[in-house]
């Protein structure tokens, strides 16, 4: 649910920029279904010990990371719109012109900026992790599923950003990578939480 709200929050801020406002039309159904998904029993747990709310580092860690997921979600939305419009253009459909979708170059630029924003937030959130676990003895980080998963997600998005910067990686391939990345993230998020002693 927090991922859903964080995506909405990111959109509400970015939506102040007229050129990015278009994302709302496509993002709204996704936010809606994410919200329904989040209502599934057992996905979200209460915090009986108050560890999250009493420890500022834990709160900030969670907020930054979940907002970054929201940013990756909007990234995926922009990428979907890119692929739809790109297909219309390749097929020489009049829909390419009649559609209300913005130009594909703008869609790619927006996805790129959201990608960088998301990665920065994720990096900051993960950087707080050592502060949180410093008192936990006998913690072997590579045995915790969530930590490994987080490193994998960070690495995947970092590679995409590096490829974009170094080789101007873009177009359809970028769009598919961003969509696949977010789908992987959202489908495995809860499962890795359950497998992690630290995050359960």
């Amino acid at each position: 649910m927090f991922v859903d709200w964080s995506a909405v929050g990111v959109y509400l801020v970015l939506g102040l920029i007229p050129k990015i406002r278009f994302l709302g039309a496509f993002a709204s159904p996704i936010f809606f279904f994410l919200g329904i998904y989040a209502l599934m029993p057992g996905l979200d747990h209460h915090d009986p010990d108050g560890e999250i709310t009493k420890n500022w580092a834990v709160s900030l860690h969670a907020v930054l990371i979940l907002v970054s997921y929201g940013s990756f979600g909007l990234c995926a939305v922009a990428s979907c719109m890119y692929l739809i419009q790109e297909r219309h253009l390749k097929k020489h459909n009049i829909s390419a012109i009649l559609s209300v979708l913005p130009p594909i170059q703008r869609l790619e630029a927006v996805a790129g900026k959201l990608l960088i924003g998301g990665l920065v937030l994720l990096t900051l959130g993960l950087a707080l992790a050592p502060l949180i676990v410093k008192d936990k003895e006998n913690l072997v980080f590579y045995e915790d599923a969530k930590i490994l998963w987080s490193m994998l997600v960070w690495a995947a998005y970092a590679v995409i950003v590096a490829a974009r910067w170094k080789w101007l990686f873009g177009g359809k391939r970028l769009a598919w990578c961003l969509i696949a990345g977010f789908i992987f993230l959202i489908l495995t998020f809860s499962a890795t939480n359950m497998m992690s002693d630290l995050h359960r």
């Binding site: 253009l89 020489h92 012109i97 559609s99 130009p103 170059q105 790619e108 101007l168 873009g170």
Partner: protein, 357 residues
């Protein structure tokens, strides 16, 4: 009081007849004054464009008499001595008002839904108003016509889309690039359509047009027309990396751009999109190039098909527009002829050569 329109348009006559009836702006004052002095009109507006010449008149004369007299006036004023068949049409209200609303909305134009006519009509009206040839009746009717045109433009699809190859190309570019400002265009070859397409792109902000042609003189000539620069035909590939849009229109019998060549040329571009417009027949650009990532190839058939689709969409809107126009005609005539006043409406009359004599 009748509202009359007498005119000639691309529907009723060829350009060789229309041009004999055209009026320069400097003549309008004299013509309308003469119309008024002869008692044929209490109010009048003259519209003269490349596709139509129309006199809109509010007159105290009975409709039938007014139609005949104004038609004769037009013929004599232009000193037209050839036989007139059906070239000149005449309408009295309500048809005259309906005609005006249709003209203002672009429903009577050569290209259905075009918007230029509204500006021309406004100009003609304001000119007549400044010269004090309009009054309460024509002011009301013309203002209503402009409102009807605005409503139709905003609420129907009659003016939607582009119906020329050049403007379709611009719309495509708009859907690929984030703004056309600063985009670089190259024209390979020469031709009317490629020149018009380049002009359309320039008018929307494309910053530079480079022209290349086997004949460097021809390239220079076209570049001069477009405020661009000529590039020798052997050197145009060197420019490819920086281009955004290429318009090709040569008379080459084989592909100027084949897939292998373009694959090599686009490598330095990374993932920057490229729009290739092929206006030539036979085609200059290998259609397989469209399969490459970030490259979009549109040939003349694609562009014309899109333009045709737009036209068909506009056609579908006609009934909606006509129904709205009928409603507004009744409204405005009702306000000009409130209950209790005898209506001076006359029938729609199509001029007849024998009647004119």
């Amino acid at each position: 009081m009748s509202i009359i329109v007498v005119g000639i348009s691309h529907h009723s006559s060829s350009v060789s007849v229309r041009e004999r009836f055209a009026f320069a702006e400097s003549e309008i004052d004299d013509v309308l004054r003469s119309l008024t002095d002869r008692g044929l009109a209490q109010e009048s507006v003259l519209l003269s464009t490349c596709n139509r010449v129309e006199l809109y008149v509010s007159t105290r004369l009975p409709a039938t008499e007014a139609l005949h007299a104004i038609k004769q006036f037009l013929i004599e004023n232009r000193q037209y001595q050839d036989v007139i068949q059906d070239e000149i049409y005449c309408h009295a209200n309500p048809s005259s008002v309906e005609h005006l609303f249709r003209v203002a909305s672009g429903l009577d134009s050569l290209v259905l839904g075009e918007t230029e006519i509204l500006g021309q009509l406004k100009k003609a009206y304001h000119l007549a108003m400044e010269m004090k040839f309009t009054g309460g009746r024509l002011n009301k009717v013309f203002q209503k016509a402009f409102n009807v045109a605005k409503y139709i433009r905003s609420n129907t699809g009659i003016q939607r889309g582009s119906t020329s190859v050049g403007s379709v190309a611009v719309e495509l570019a708009d859907k690929i690039f984030d703004g056309l400002k600063g985009r670089r265009v190259m024209v390979i070859g020469a031709g009317d359509t490629s020149e018009k397409t380049a002009r359309s792109l320039l008018s929307r902000g494309a910053s530079e047009v480079a022209v290349t042609n086997r004949s460097y003189e021809r390239a220079e000539e076209l570049a001069g027309n477009l405020n661009g620069r000529a590039v020798p035909f052997q050197e145009w590939e060197a420019e490819f990396e920086e281009l955004d849009i290429v318009i090709s229109s040569t008379s080459a019998p084989t592909y100027v751009l084949d897939r292998a060549r373009v694959e090599k040329l686009i490598r330095p571009r990374k993932s920057r999109p490229l729009l290739l417009i092929d206006i030539a027949v036979p085609r200059d650009i290998d259609p397989e190039i469209n399969e490459l990532d970030n490259v979009y190839v549109y040939n003349i058939d694609h562009l014309q098909s899109i333009a045709q689709d737009y036209l068909e969409q506009r056609q579908k809107e006609i009934d909606t527009c006509e129904a709205f126009i009928k409603e507004k005609v009744e409204e405005v005539l009702g306000s000009l002829n409130p209950p209790g006043h005898a209506a001076k409406d006359g029938p729609m009359i199509q001029a007849d050569a024998r009647e004119a004599g």
